[in-house]
């Protein structure tokens, strides 16, 4: 009872702060200095049409590296926690009703399309909304569809780990190349910026974002696989 009262008081205080914030909020009518810099310089300097992508991949590229690392840690920790102390048996013969024929056929039809769409999203990250993180999530969704159709399906852990490490290495490697050949770590101008609006433009942004997409997809897929392989308790 006392606990609930304390919670109530805390939320009341937070609500008062929020109300104050909302009351004093004046919507900006001009871009602030940072945003103005990005809006003016992205197209000329980097050649990317999607400014959000330019910020994530180039201007704040180091943060993205950190974020991908956080995801990697999360997926590794999930694998370790789940592996600890549980007897994992592979050839489990759970008695499951077969999934319907329609779902099986439908998933066979849709999985390649989902994969293709994921690839489209991260290859076109510098032109249309989307990019590595969204594309990675979509690719992991294709793996999810396979798992939902056939719960006993097992992905190759080696392949997932291989894709993940190679894309991570390429990501860091391109960053170091940027330091050697152009202005700094993860600078995209190691490749020609190309014609504005074309697929091969914006220097290394599509390359970097593709590998980020593959890495994020592999990480999410390994999370899903680790969860799906646990024994039913």
């Amino acid at each position: 009872m006392i606990r609930n009262f304390a919670v109530f008081l805390l939320l009341l205080g937070l609500g008062a702060i929020f109300l104050h914030l909302l009351d004093g909020y004046v919507p900006a009518s001009e871009l602030n200095q940072t945003a103005r810099y990005y809006a003016e310089h992205t197209a000329q300097d980097l050649g990317a049409a999607n400014i959000v992508t330019a910020i994530i991949v180039t201007y704040r590229g180091l943060d993205t590296l950190g974020e991908v690392t956080v995801l990697f840690l999360a997926s590794t920790i999930i694998g370790m926690v789940l592996a600890q102390g549980s007897k994992r048996q592979r050839a489990l013969q759970r008695k499951l009703p077969a999934s319907g024929e329609l779902l099986t056929t439908g998933s066979r039809l849709l999985v390649p399309l989902i994969l293709l769409f994921g690839a489209y999203v991260f290859v076109n990250g510098h032109l249309t909304p989307g990019g590595g993180f969204q594309g990675g999530a979509i690719i992991a969704s294709a793996a999810l569809l396979v798992l939902l159709t056939d719960p006993l399906k097992r992905f190759s852990h080696k392949l997932i780990a291989l894709v993940e490490s190679i894309s991570g290495l390429v990501f860091v490697g391109v960053g170091v190349l940027g330091m050697l050949l152009a202005g700094g770590f993860l600078d995209n101008r190691i490749l020609p910026t190309g014609e504005f609006g074309a697929l091969f433009s914006a220097g290394a942004i599509p390359l970097i974002y593709s590998f980020v997409g593959l890495k994020v997809g592999a990480e999410f897929t390994s999370m899903l696989t680790n969860l799906a392989e646990t024994e039913k308790s």
Binding site: N50, V52, T53, V121, P129, G130, G131, F133, Q134, A137, I138, A140, S141, L144, L148, F220, L224, L227, A228, T230, K232, S233
Partner: protein, 84 residues
């Protein structure tokens, strides 16, 4: 013209608060999870109306499949079946 968007946005926010209410008040955990998925869906459309298609796409790709699956998977595992 943007009247249309403001009207739909108001509708969405009301629905969002209602869904959040269902989330914290639902009798069954599965209903709460479903309502949380609904909050994510409405938030995604709201992001689009706030002129952030990148964020809307991320929320759509993650909220529609992966989050729902994770929640219901763990719920199914811990309860050992369909009944709450």
């Amino acid at each position: 013209m943007s009247m249309v968007l403001i009207a739909i946005a108001t509708l969405l926010t009301i629905a969002m608060i209602g869904a959040a209410w269902v989330t914290i008040r639902a009798k069954k955990v599965a209903t709460a999870m479903l309502a949380a998925g609904l909050v994510s869906l409405f938030a995604s459309v709201m992001f689009l109306f706030l002129a952030a298609p990148d964020v809307a796409m991320t929320e759509a790709a993650i909220g529609s499949g992966l989050t729902t699956f994770l929640f219901f998977f763990v719920l199914g595992r811990v309860r050992g079946g369909s009944d709450d």
